[in-house]
């Protein structure tokens, strides 16, 4: 009986999360179809999807696994450049654009997963602050490697160089990645629909993983490492699983991001981007995936909506951020919110039992 109630409670929570995503997509798609969306906002639709995916995937490491990772943009960039390279190589080979985009995203996921394993193996020996610093360093290493990477393709296949585009020795081929200039002439394959589908995919993978044997093991390690070992959980394995799955999903989002622009530079995927994604997760509530989705969407749109105010928009953005952070961490403000929520949930005629049930549902790690 209790289990059924529990299952229904988490299932209900998941359905709400999926519903928010679906409704938001339908509304936006209607606005786009009727051309009632501004030019600026229209250009932000794919980035919003990308940052929502990144927020969900980083929550797997920060919220579910309980490790502070500061190098998420690094995995995003691995996916971005491997994805756009795949899409350029497949030009003329694969006909339909959506299929080419899908293949590029899969390639991006695989490359980011490899990067996740290579970086994760040494990093998972560390904990806490040390892990955070080392992920930060790896994020910068990836950015600098890409800054010096030259990649081209011609009839003979792919050519790599770490020196210059001339060192590639291309014969009437195309330079895909030109060091610090990044990639130009990228096909803009990303669409709002693709972004929506990638969000659904990311959400499904993360929620299904969290609510399973694997997810419980990851959360057990987070809550108490020694106790987790004492019941036979291989701590390193499960921390690594969370880290690599998160990296894979970040890479896929990176590919979607890259193919929304004609030019992509490695500098875009720096420390600031990693912090931005972390802000989404923290602001949405660490471990709260739905909150992370909403905060990623709002914070991506906010600077553009404030642009009309002129020079002061970044100032207001920062003030809003600080106010929300303080409000959500202040006990008095939170209890006021809880009281408000209880009042909203209590339908007329229902007894106080329902509100007690609602109060129980507000756990910190509710998805």
């Amino acid at each position: 009986m209790g289990m059924l109630g529990n299952l229904r409670k988490t299932t209900r929570s998941h359905i709400l999360t999926y519903a928010i995503v679906v409704v938001a997509y339908v509304v936006l798609q209607c606005l786009v179809s009727t051309h009632s969306i501004s030019y600026f906002l229209g250009g932000l639709l794919v980035p919003v999807c990308v940052y929502v995916c990144l927020s969900i995937s980083l929550n797997l490491v920060v919220g579910v696994s309980g490790e502070l990772s500061l190098g998420h943009a690094g995995f995003m960039s691995v996916g971005a450049f491997s994805g756009l390279a795949a899409s350029i190589c497949l030009r003329g080979v694969v006909g339909p654009d959506p299929l080419r985009l899908a293949i590029a995203i899969v390639v991006a996921g695989v490359m980011a997963a490899i990067a996740g394993i290579v970086i994760g193996l040494p990093v998972m020996r560390l904990r806490g602050d040390y892990l955070a610093i080392v992920t930060l360093a790896f994020g910068e290493i990836i950015k600098n490697l890409l800054n010096n990477l030259y990649l081209g393709v011609d009839a003979n296949g792919l050519h790599f160089s770490m020196e210059s585009s001339r060192a590639l020795g291309l014969q009437r081929g195309i330079v895909i990645i030109d060091g610090p200039q990044g990639a130009s002439g990228v096909d803009k394959l990303s669409t709002l629909l693709a972004g929506f589908l990638l969000i659904l995919f990311t959400l499904t993978v993360v929620l299904n993983l969290v609510n399973s044997r694997t997810g419980r093991a990851i959360m057990a390690v987070r809550d108490n490492r020694i106790a987790a070992e004492s019941v036979g959980i291989n701590v390193t394995k499960y921390r690594l699983i969370a880290f690599v799955v998160s990296a894979t999903l970040a890479g896929m989002a990176g590919a979607l991001y890259a193919m929304n622009y004609s030019t992509v530079v490695p500098k875009k995927f720096d420390f600031n981007t990693s912090i931005l994604i972390l802000v989404f997760v923290v602001l949405g509530g660490i471990g709260n995936i739905r909150g992370g989705i909403v905060s990623a969407a709002l914070l991506t749109l906010l600077p553009e909506m404030l642009r009309s105010i002129g020079d002061y928009y970044m100032l207001i953005y920062a003030v809003v951020l600080i106010v929300v952070m303080i409000a959500t961490n202040n006990a008095r403000v939170r209890s006021a919110f809880d009281a408000l929520r209880d009042r909203l949930r209590r339908r007329p005629g229902d007894g106080p039992t329902l509100s007690a049930g609602a109060a129980n549902g507000g756990g910190t790690h509710e998805q």
Binding site: R216, N224, E229, S230
Partner: protein, 276 residues
């Protein structure tokens, strides 16, 4: 645990063969020998006690057995299998489960999820089956639920299955830790001060529960406890530690009459007299 597993076990009280045998077990921290030359035998389905004054090294022995610490000397044989070089997770799979002196639950998970984590190596389901929600996943979840509730029922906690573990009262947290440990299907259960913080009637209930656990699960129990009534009441064999070394071992009656043990607990007879 299923009934078939229980039937495979030896009948209770068969102390003839040992489930745990430690020889010359020891650990040094820097120059300090926290545990030195420890020989300890626990019979199959025996209830054994490990006692000694504060700082004698009792919990360190548990940490050596469960590989929280790596022993610097000696061997540990669990049912004939050498576990001294295994990782903590492998030791759990080999058959040692434990509770902790300062309770270590997965405090943000529910009561049922805590036991489900304990069942981690009893019910298998791979990551891909979980992500893709294959039939394998649903079957394993049903199995997890059934076995978790079966265990919680033994401890009278089935009604609390959906409560967050960290919100439970102290006594219930201790019981949940034991349930989680038993979920790993151990051959040997280590209990670190199970009666700490309990009143006399709760302690009496705990004594019954420990005997019941041994009989139902066919598991050997080694416990650390300061409550002498509990130790003398249920332990069939007692080992006394002081300054990391065994100073006495035997039945409760042997221990109560052992002058070395009395000295460790109460101080030297003539020294006390001299002081008066």
């Amino acid at each position: 645990m299923s009934s078939e597993d229980r039937d495979k076990r030896e009948p209770m009280g068969d102390v003839g063969d040992a489930v745990l045998e430690c020889q010359h077990l020891g650990i040094e921290f820097g120059g300090l020998r926290a545990v030195n030359d420890l020989n300890l035998v626990v019979g199959r389905t025996q209830i054994a006690g490990l006692i000694g004054p504060n700082g004698a090294g009792k919990t360190t022995v548990f940490n050596l057995l469960t590989k929280v610490y790596q022993p610097t000397h000696g061997t540990i044989l669990l049912d004939g299998q050498d576990t001294a070089r295994m990782s903590a997770a492998k030791v759990s799979k080999a058959g040692i489960a434990r509770t902790f002196q300062n309770i270590r639950l997965f405090s943000t998970l529910t009561v049922e999820e805590n036991v489900r984590v304990g069942l981690h190596n009893q019910v298998e389901c791979g990551m891909w089956s979980s992500i893709l929600r294959l039939p394998r996943f649903w079957a394993s979840e049903r199995e997890y639920h059934r076995r978790a509730l079966e265990l919680l029922d033994v401890f009278g906690m089935a009604d609390n299955a959906d409560d967050v573990a960290g919100s439970l009262p102290y006594g219930a947290q201790r019981r949940l830790e034991i349930a989680r440990a038993l979920a790993t299907n151990p051959k040997l259960l280590l209990l670190d001060e199970p009666a700490a913080g309990m009143n006399p009637s709760e302690t009496a209930g705990l004594m019954e529960a420990i005997a019941h656990i041994r009989d139902t699960f066919g598991v050997a129990v080694l416990l650390i406890e300061h409550d002498m009534e509990l130790v003398m009441g249920i332990c069939e064999k007692i080992t006394v530690l002081n300054f990391g070394e065994v100073i006495g071992s035997g039945t409760p009656a042997d221990i109560q009459g052992n002058p070395q043990v009395i000295e460790a607990y109460l101080g030297k007879q003539d020294a006390r007299e001299g002081g008066e």
